[in-house]
C-alpha cells in the first residue's frame, strides 16, 4: 500500500489515539509536575471592646483569580513523586533506620498509601493470574469431555461472569457475602459468631477480592483453552495412547505443550487486565483494607470540589511505568519475531 493511501486510511484512528491516549499521557505528566494553589490568606485585625485580635481569613476572590490564571497550579518539579503519598523516599529511609526487624519495616511501608496500593495490585495480579490459568485449563478439559448437548449451555453460563459489567458483577457478589446476605449470614450461623464479617478483616477482604477476580476472569482462559483443545492433533493423542500413556499423562505431555502458546497469550491479557483492578474495590467498599493503583487515582480525582490533579498525575505516571515494565518481555519477544520474519 502506498504511504499516501495508508495515511488516509489510518488517519481517523491514529488521530483519535494520539489526541485521547498519547496526549493525555503527556498532559498527565505535566500535571504531575504541578501542585494546586494554596488558598490566599489575608490577616486582618478585628477590634472589639477587649482590644484587637488578628484573624486570618481566606481571600476567595484572590484565590479564584490565581486559579483562573494558572489552572495547573504552581510548578512543583518532581516533589509530588517523592512526597509521602507517592514514592515516599524520606519515609522509607526513616522506616529503614528506625525499625529492627524486617516485619516492622514492612508494617511501616504498608502504611504508605502508594506502597499499600502497589502491594495489593501486585498481589492481586500475581495470585489471580496463575489461578485463572490453572482452573481455566482444568475446566476446559472437563467441558471438552462433556456430552455434546451440554457443551453449548456450559459455555453460555461460563460467559456470564466474564461479560457482566465489573462493577455490577462485584456488587452481586458483595451483596451475597454481606453480613446480611446469603453467604455472609450462613457463615455467621455456621461459626455461630454474629460479629463475623468478611469486610472487617484485611486478609478476608483480600481473599474476597481475589475470589471475585478469579470468578470474573476464569471464563476468558477457559474459552481460550477450550478453543485450543479443538485443535489438538488427533494423531498425536492416538500415538500417545498406543504408547500406553494414561489420560493424565497425555494431558501433561501432549495437551499442555500444545496449549503453551495460548498460555502466554492468556497470561499477557490477564496481566494487563488484573493490573488495572479497580471496580471491585468500589463495589466492595474495600478501601479501608485494600486499595489499588487505579483506585487511588480515582480517589484523588474524586476529592469533591478540589481534585488533586498533581497527585493523581504522579500516580498515573508511576502506573504507566509499571505497565511498561510488565509488558517489556512481550514487546521484546514481538520485536524479535518481527525481525525474524522480516529477514
Amino acid at each position: 500500500m502506498k504511504h499516501r493511501t495508508f495515511l488516509w486510511f489510518i488517519l481517523p484512528t491514529l488521530s483519535a489515539m494520539i489526541l485521547f491516549i498519547a496526549l493525555p499521557i503527556v498532559s498527565v505528566f505535566i500535571q504531575s509536575l504541578h501542585v494546586g494553589h494554596e488558598q490566599v490568606i489575608v490577616v486582618s485585625e478585628s477590634c472589639g471592646p477587649f482590644g484587637c485580635t488578628p484573624t486570618t481569613s481566606i481571600d476567595l476572590e484572590a484565590t479564584a483569580k490565581l486559579q483562573d490564571e494558572q489552572p495547573l497550579g504552581k510548578f512543583n518539579g518532581l516533589s509530588t513523586y517523592t512526597n509521602r503519598s507517592h514514592l515516599a523516599f524520606q519515609e522509607l529511609a526513616e522506616a529503614w533506620r528506625t525499625t529492627q526487624t524486617f516485619g516492622e519495616f514492612w508494617d511501616q511501608v504498608f502504611n504508605l498509601p502508594f506502597y499499600r496500593a502497589l502491594i495489593f495490585t501486585l498481589t492481586y495480579t500475581a495470585v489471580v493470574t496463575p489461578m485463572v490459568i490453572a482452573l481455566g485449563l482444568a475446566i476446559a478439559v472437563g467441558v471438552n469431555n462433556l456430552p455434546k448437548f451440554l457443551k453449548g449451555p456450559s459455555i453460555f453460563i461460563s460467559l456470564l461472569p466474564f461479560l457482566v459489567t465489573p462493577l455490577v458483577g462485584s456488587l452481586i457478589l458483595y451483596w451475597m457475602v454481606d453480613a446480611d446476605g446469603v453467604i455472609g449470614a450462613t457463615l455467621q450461623n455456621i461459626f455461630d459468631d454474629p460479629s463475623l464479617s468478611l469486610k472487617a478483616s484485611t486478609a478476608l477482604t483480600w481473599v474476597m477480592l481475589i475470589v471475585y477476580g478469579v470468578w470474573h476472569m476464569l471464563p476468558f482462559s477457559f474459552i481460550t483453552f477450550y478453543a485450543g483443545l479443538q485443535t489438538v492433533p488427533e494423531d498425536t493423542m492416538e500415538a500417545a495412547q498406543i504408547d500406553g500413556a494414561s489420560k493424565w499423562q497425555s494431558l501433561i505431555h501432549v495437551i499442555v505443550p500444545h496449549l503453551a502458546p495460548l498460555m502466554s497469550f492468556v497470561t499477557l491479557m490477564m496481566l494487563m487486565d488484573n493490573f488495572r483492578v479497580f471496580e471491585p474495590i468500589v463495589s466492595f467498599s474495600a478501601e479501608a483494607h485494600a486499595t489499588s493503583l487505579s483506585w487511588i487515582i480515582f480517589n484523588d480525582l474524586r476529592e469533591s470540589g478540589n481534585p488533586l490533579y498533581g497527585s493523581a498525575g504522579a500516580t498515573s505516571i508511576l502506573t504507566v511505568i509499571g505497565v511498561v515494565i510488565l509488558l517489556t518481555p512481550v514487546l521484546i519477544r514481538t520485536w524479535r519475531d518481527f525481525n525474524r520474519k522480516a529477514h
Binding site: 500500500m1 493511501t5 495508508f6 486510511f9 489510518i10 481517523p12 484512528t13 491514529l14 483519535a16 489515539m17 485521547f20 491516549i21 498519547a22 500535571q31 482452573l135 478439559v141 472437563g142 469431555n145 462433556l146 459455555i155 461460563s158 460467559l159 456470564l160 461472569p161 461479560l163 457482566v164 459489567t165 465489573p166 456488587l171 452481586i172 451483596w175 453480613a179 446469603v182 449470614a185 450462613t186 476464569l218 476468558f220 481460550t224 478453543a227 495412547q241 502458546p261 495460548l262 497469550f265 488495572r276 471496580e279 463495589s283 487505579s294 487515582i297 480515582f298 484523588d300 480525582l301 481534585p307 490533579y309 498525575g313 498515573s316 505516571i317 502506573t319 505497565v323 509488558l327 514481538t334
Partner: protein, 293 residues
C-alpha cells in the same frame, strides 16, 4: 472414533466433571439469586435470620401480600428515574460502536495491507495503549475538559470511549483483514479501481462477520465502562453504571438497597440477551487473537 478405553470412567473423569459442575454453579448462582431476590423486599433479600426467607419471601408476603413485588423496579425506574440513565447508555453505546467500527475498519485494513515497518510500530503502540489503565488517561482529560468547558457532555464521553476502544478494535480487525486474501482487492485494483474503491466494492461486502464480532466487544467496553463514565459525565448525563454506583451512596442511607438491586438486574438483562444471540461470535472473537498468535 471413541473406543471403550477412552470412555472408561476413571477417577480423573469424575473429578473433572465435578469441577465443571461446581464451576457452573458458582458462575450461574449469583445471577439467579439476585434475579430472584430483586422481586423481594429488603428484609428478605438481606435476611439476617434465615437465608430461606429470600427464597420463600416470608416478609414480602407480610408487607405486600404476595410473594413477589416489583417495588424495587418501580423505585429505581420511576422514582429514581433510572430510565434516563438507560437512555444515556443507549446513546453513548450506539455512537461509540458505530464510530469505533468506522475508524477501526479503515485503520485495520490499512495495517493489514501495509508491509512497512511503521505499520508494526503502530500496532505495538496500540498494544501498549491497550494496557493503559483507563483511569490514568481519565486523569489527563479532566483538567483540559474543564478548561474548554466540554466536561460532562455525552459527545465528549463518546469520543473518549472511541479512542480508548481503538487499540483493541485495530488489533482485532487487523488480524481479521489478514485472513481476507490480498488477491481480492489487488485484482480489483488491477482492473482499474483505486485503493478506496477496491475497499468499498470488494472488502466491505465480505467484512461483516469480523465487524460484527469486533462490534460486540466495542459494545461491551462502552457498556461496561465505569472509570471514564463516572469521571467525565455530569449528574444529568450519567449512564447506567455510574448511576448504580451513585445509587449505593444515596439509597443505603434511605434503606432502599432494593432499588440498586433492581437496577443491577436491569443492567445485566441486555448482556444476557446479547450472549444468548451472539454466543458463537463472542467465543470466536475471544479466541481470534489467541489462535492466530
Amino acid at each position: 472414533m471413541a473406543t471403550k478405553a477412552q470412555n472408561r470412567i476413571t477417577p480423573l473423569t469424575i473429578i473433572s466433571f465435578a469441577l465443571v459442575a461446581i464451576w457452573l454453579i458458582i458462575a450461574a448462582f449469583p445471577f439467579l439469586w439476585t434475579l430472584w431476590g430483586s422481586f423481594k423486599v429488603q428484609s428478605d433479600f438481606f435476611s439476617k435470620a434465615d437465608w430461606r426467607n429470600a427464597f420463600y419471601g416470608i416478609n414480602t408476603i407480610k408487607e405486600t401480600g404476595s410473594a413477589f413485588t416489583g417495588a424495587g423496579y418501580h423505585g429505581a425506574w420511576v422514582q429514581e428515574e433510572f430510565w434516563r440513565n438507560v437512555l444515556n447508555t443507549g446513546i453513548v453505546v450506539f455512537f461509540t460502536v458505530v464510530i469505533s467500527l468506522t475508524f477501526g475498519t479503515l485503520g485495520g485494513y490499512a495495517l493489514a495491507r501495509s508491509g512497512f515497518r511503521y505499520a508494526f510500530w503502530i500496532l505495538m503502540a496500540a498494544l501498549v495503549f491497550r494496557a493503559m489503565p483507563h483511569i490514568t488517561l481519565v486523569s489527563g482529560y479532566m483538567l483540559p475538559f474543564f478548561e474548554w468547558n466540554i466536561w460532562g457532555l455525552l459527545p465528549t464521553t463518546i469520543i473518549v470511549l472511541v479512542a480508548i476502544n481503538q487499540p483493541f478494535t485495530l488489533w482485532m480487525l487487523h488480524s481479521f483483514f489478514l485472513n481476507i486474501p490480498k488477491d481480492m482487492d489487488e485484482s480489483a485494483m488491477v482492473d482499474g479501481c483505486t485503493r478506496f474503491q477496491a475497499f468499498r466494492h470488494v472488502i466491505i461486502p465480505v467484512m461483516w462477520p469480523g465487524v460484527v464480532t469486533t462490534g460486540l466487544f466495542s459494545f461491551l467496553l462502552a457498556y461496561n465502562d465505569f472509570a471514564v463514565t463516572s469521571m467525565l459525565l455530569s449528574a444529568e448525563n450519567e449512564t447506567m453504571v455510574p448511576a448504580i454506583a451513585s445509587f449505593l451512596g444515596t439509597t443505603q442511607v434511605q434503606g432502599n438497597v432494593m432499588f440498586a438491586v433492581a437496577a443491577v438486574v436491569s443492567a445485566t438483562a441486555p448482556l444476557f440477551i446479547l450472549i444468548l444471540f451472539f454466543q458463537r461470535q463472542i467465543v470466536s472473537g475471544l479466541t481470534a487473537g489467541a489462535v492466530k498468535g
